[in-house]
Amino acid sequence: MEFVVITMAKIAVMLGVLLTVVAYTVWLERKVCAWMQDRVGPNRVGPFGLLQPLADGLKMMLKEDVLPRHITDKALYTLGPLMAMVPALVTAGAIPWGSQLPLFGRQIQCVVANLNAAVLVVFATSSFAVYGIVLAGWASNSKYPFLGGVRSSAQMISYEVCLALSVVPVFMQIGSLSLCHMVEYQTHHTWMIFMPWQWPSFLIFIISAFAETNRTPFDLPEAEQELVAGYNTEYSSMKFSMFFLGEYAAMFVMSAMMVTLFFGGWSLPFAPFNRPATTLWIGLAHVAIFLAKILVFLFLYIWIRWTIPRVRYDQLMALGWKIFIPLTIVNIVFVGIVLALWGGR
């Protein structure tokens, strides 16, 4: 009973924080993009436009939900956006967002589900998002969403492989698939990113993560110039915003993964932030550190989006299959040799 209550509370907190961060990522994206183009961005609703996400949300909810007449399978059409959003929210549950919070005489672990194969769960569920996009593309029953759906399924499936293979060296070093162990290991030793033999893994992981979340330069499923809006062309109102939410939530989760795998999760490499918290304040500080690190990666996502033009589709596929997959395999062998020779543990 107690377990259920605590877990429920954790889920509520996690979801609340996630959705708030997602809303403000959209704000940040608009602001940063404006600054990069020498504009000022949203600045009318609230100070610095800080209430803009609320206004956007309200607008989305009040919009008419248009159901185009050519849509024959309404069930699939409705399932699409749901399937695109839910996986991202589910994966968030497996990520440790802090050490522990001593609260009401208990040590509350800052993770919704402390799984011992968390990484597999994250990769497995996050690839569910592709179903949402495929369903949306198929059920929309018109050509642009269809092409967007086809593209994104191919893209996500190929980059799924790189994504999973690229982090294998990390697990080889740690010997566990649990994300909590991951952070623990990095607090005891040093962050993965400070180990030069993990750099190729990180580079491939971050690029594949961009492709996996359909962000520029790999945002081919919704390439505006060719496909109108891609798979979400026929969607409006809340259904559209679910896709939107799904995309940003996926960004959040991928950033969280990068932070956890390579940047020491909630820790900082000095006391008292490199040990599980003993007081509430340090526990909260850990959560704040974790969010701050995520924010850096979200900024990176945005920064890259407004800098780099989209790659061509064949380039994308060639990069995935001809370069990254062989590279990841070579990388696994390479790191294996390094660990065998110098015993990286």
């Binding site: 940063v32 404006a34 600054w35 990069m36 183009q37 020498d38 504009r39 000022v40 920064w303 890259i304 407004w306 800098t307 780099i308």
Partner: protein, 166 residues
């Protein structure tokens, strides 16, 4: 035509240096001066011969200059003008002009701000002045009638005043 593709060096084909360069470029724009004009508070500068909405003017004596000749109505490409001709007041100082518009309607939904009316007017009674944001909540509101047009146009300095001693 065959476009010759330039031979790229290995460094260029790596793509990453260009990416980094681009990232630096966008980042360096963040603190720069912004070019946004905060519109409703900050109006754009209008230059000398700016053509805004067409409006009717009065001469320095305050009389309506338009003589309801309907040339502007005739020339207007989108047929935005409608002139309802009427007579000047009996015994008024300018009674010899005979005609004046009893109503003068410009449909601002249709007007394309071309300035033909201003050009064609023999009395220099209609001018494209500097109002550029003509807006309203209904189509009805966008029909500008004589009173409104005269009010917007105001008085135009006019040295000749050809009707003065007729």
């Amino acid at each position: 035509m065959l476009v010759q593709r330039p031979k790229l060096t290995f460094w260029e084909r790596l793509y990453l240096p260009q990416v980094l360069q681009g990232l630096w470029q966008t980042l360096s724009h963040i603190p720069r001066k912004k070019f946004t004009r905060q519109y409703p508070e900050e109006k754009p500068p209008l230059y000398g011969k700016y053509r805004g909405a067409p409006e009717l003017v009065r001469d320095p004596d305050g009389r309506v200059k338009c003589v309801a000749c309907q040339l502007c109505e005739f020339v207007c490409p989108p047929k935005a003008i409608r002139v309802v001709p009427g007579f000047r007041k009996e015994g008024a100082s300018d009674a010899s002009v005979e005609k004046e518009p009893s109503d003068f309607i410009i449909n601002m939904n249709r007007c394309i701000f071309c300035g033909f009316c201003e050009e064609v007017c023999p009395e220099e009674a209609i001018f494209l002045l500097r109002d550029f944001s003509v807006s309203g909540y209904s189509r009805e509101e966008m029909q500008f009638h004589k009173d409104k047009l005269l009010e917007l146009g105001g008085v135009r300095e006019d040295k000749i005043q050809k009707w003065k001693n007729k």
